[in-house]
Amino acid sequence: MTDGVIENSEKGKASRGDVPVLQVKDLSVDYGVDKVWVPAAIDLNYEVRAGEVLAIVGESGSGKSASSMSLLGLLPENSRTTGSVKLNGREILGLTGSKLRQVRGRDVAVIFQEPMTAMNPVYTIGFQIVETIRLHNEISPEEAKERALKLLDMVELPDPDKAFKSYPHQLSGGQRQRAMIAQSLSCDPKLLIADEPTTALDVTVQAEILDLMRNLRNKLNSAIVLITHDMGVVADLADHIVVMSKGRIVEAGTAEQIFHSPQHEYTRKLLAAVPHLGQGGGGTDDVDITAALAAATQTELRGVDHDEQMRRERENEARLEEREREADTSRGAAVLQLTDVAIEYPKQGRVPAFRAVEGANLAIYPGEVLGLVGESGSGKTTIGRAAVGLLPVAAGSLTVTGKEISHATRKELFELRRNVGMVFQDPSSSLNPRLPLGESIGEPMFLAKVAKGADLQKRIETLLDQVELPRAYRNRYPHELSGGQKQRVGIARALSLKPKLLVADEPTSALDVSVQATVLELLKNLQKELGFACLFVTHDLAVVDLMSDRICVMRRGKIVEQGTRDQILRRPQDPYTQRLLAAVPLPNPEKQRERRELRAKLLASAE
């Protein structure tokens, strides 16, 4: 293959940084909707050099994915792309047929968000990687297999031979993403497009994948375009950042420029809206989690001066003691109390019952927000649902406002539900699409017979006022609202019966950051104003930090640690809590560098 030699020499030239690997000039993408061109991306200009990570950041609808998929011609047929995209100086926009296929997979590879759907479930991982290799290289199956195994080893899969023979569903989410990365690297791409590569993953797994991508960038010298909405991920990986909003680039620059001196109003708003683990207390109450973790695990940080580190650790301790002294111990009777609770998903047909939570003890007192954090499968949502009586309690005692609900009758449950409100994760699916919003909000009040007729209408209006929505929204339907507005309606509905306990199950995880910020603020204000207790279930530690008085950490159905916000953040005791805290990327490149070192040491000492 004489071709390969030329390609390699080109690559060598690019690595010196003379020619950008990717040059995008005046790129515009439009979608044809109802015979009108609707712009998705407008006049984009950027470039990426070898060994460099360019992060394209934006909220949903900003055009970040559409513009990146257009580079490879992967958009649906009702779209058009104009402008110029040069890969190593060669125009690739408008290529068709075999020339385009040659670019795809060999020169440019894509890592998708959800590896479960991006890989074909009926073929083994090995088969799929070998197929990709042999598609672009004329080599024997044996050679291809050897190369595939090398790749699987390179992405740090624990047992490459086993992974080679596995089907996608047999691997965990993180392993699947590694396999996906291995596949995308199979032909030494010059450019790697990573479309939200860690969004579907848990935070500890996300940290591992980010480590892997950083290692690969150093090893392979490819250019990487990282598309994400997560500022923490950006801070961890990016060299250059492009901020997009409504199809336009609003700001572009180095990571330092964007994070430390953002110029455009949108960038500033976006950065301000990102919740920052450790800064949830507001102003003076910031927690130096790096110092707290270093102290708790007795780790010496190389990147930080020894005396400086000691000072930070001492300061952290002092604050904690101060807070403990201030702590208010008069609490009243618990609104929600779990004693040795086990919760099972009942058996269905031949599927045996599944015990999702075991031996849980926790209590929420009036006017308090308890943040329940954990990764997927930890049982946090299960506890939330049991508190509303949607799941039966298999063992132990669960009381709501003093009443035992583990063996409640239907009527008692009905009574219970007047005291508990629930906000669901996905605002689009938690409202009946056929009902006007006023009816959704008013339904519980009507059923509980607390109001009807004109009185009911008035209560609905009051609730809409409380969640800061116009009263005219009463007659609207869910599909006419944005995600954040729908979630506000969800909150209004949950509060309609003036509950003593509000269970919020990941209420903002489906929302954009700036919308999340406004919804969280609203929820916080309402909680202060109305004084209900709140069980706040989430996977996002930064959000928990922002909302909670006390934090409870769950792992695999068990509560591993709980305490006040200060106790958990300033002196995390359980190794899992420490790992979880260390894995959260900070939206600040320098602090994140510190944190990364700490995390590496933490993991090394654990082995």
């Binding site: 200009n45 629930m422 599909h479």
Partner: protein
């Protein structure tokens, strides 16, 4: 993409540098920052049903099938407007099989009756069988399917098996057997035919409803309603069924056409409507012996049948496009 208007929104290429590798900031006026989650209050609220209706109104397929169906219904309701000839009188054997004559544009049947008149008067029974069979199937199949899907467990197991048993019996075979029962043999009318069609037709609608209800049953808004104190049954009525209705409506519309076909098939075989009831099926049956020498008495009722069935199937397609925007062709 065929001629599309160019949106004028695209800005003039501005004076920005070609490659903003340096710190680039867009013109604030060009990229205004909208208020987060701002509320829109300008247009009137629209439910999903009214959205579907708006979409439906613009579909040529819907307009065409709608006009045809309205015409068929009109003919069924007021047959006297379309023909002056009463269908079974003035049948003179002298006219047997004759071609068009003044006042008889479609000619005569073998018995010497006016073809147009028979086709016009036959509309009523064909349409009635179709409509009532559909209604019955919708009520019985819909209820059983919704209950099976929503409650699940053993109720589902029993109802689903019951449906499978009926599903396994071929309609024509079943109808032949049922018609032989003494009660049906003695009281053959439009209604006995409807009963037979419903008996063998409900499992299809039950299956569709069940599948649709199951997909909605676990939606968050049903859980939300339950967590707020809505009982299971009212959750089914108020929250599940309205959201599960769309595919059922589509299949029901299409099956209305197929029931009319089934009526004709059974009548043709002599086990449908009694010979004294005028229907397209009966007319096709009686014209069949002379189809090679005089095909026209068979052609006209068959044409009426095909047009009616076709328009119901087209309506079903149009409804599917309107009610399920995701499945819509690009």
């Amino acid at each position: 993409m065929p001629e599309m208007e160019n949106t004028p929104k695209r800005g003039v290429p501005s004076k920005r540098p070609a490659y903003p590798t340096e710190h680039f900031v867009a013109d604030a006026e060009e990229t205004p920052v909208a208020a987060t989650d701002s509320a829109t209050t300008d247009d009137a609220p629209r439910s999903q049903w009214s959205e579907a209706w708006r979409n439906l109104r613009r579909q040529p397929l819907f307009i065409l099938s709608g006009i045809l169906i309205l015409a068929v219904i009109f003919v069924a309701l007021f047959p006297g407007i379309f023909t002056n000839e009463p269908p079974n009188e003035n049948c003179l054997l002298i006219n047997s099989g004759a071609g068009p004559a003044p006042g008889h544009p479609l000619g005569f049947t073998q018995q010497g009756c006016d073809v147009l008149s028979r086709v016009v008067y036959g509309t009523q029974s064909s349409l009635m069988v179709g409509m009532f069979a559909t209604l019955g199937v919708l009520l019985i199949g819909g209820t059983i399917g919704a209950i099976a899907g929503f409650y699940g467990g053993w109720i589902d197991a029993i109802l689903a098996r019951l449906g499978d048993i009926f599903f396994a019996l071929p309609l024509i075979l079943g109808a032949i057997v049922v018609v032989q029962l003494p009660f049906f043999r003695e009281n053959r009318s439009v209604w006995t035919l409807v009963v037979i069609l419903v008996t063998f037709g409900w499992p299809q609608i039950a299956r569709i409803t069940r599948a649709s209800v199951i997909s909605v049953r676990n939606a968050d808004f049903v859980t939300a309603a339950r967590s707020l104190g809505v009982s299971r049954f009212s959750a089914l009525l108020k929250h599940v069924i309205p959201n599960a209705l769309a595919p059922v409506i589509v299949i029901t519309t299409i099956s209305l056409g197929t029931f009319i076909v089934a009526e004709s098939t059974l009548s043709f075989l002599g086990i449908g409507l009694p010979p004294d009831v005028m229907s397209w099926g009966n007319d096709i049956f009686s014209a069949e012996p002379t189809v090679r020498t005089n095909p026209m008495p068979l052609f006209w009722p068959a044409l009426a049948l095909s047009l009616t069935v076709l328009s119901f199937i087209m309506l079903g397609d149009a409804l599917r496009d309107a009610l399920d925007p995701k499945a819509r062709k690009r």
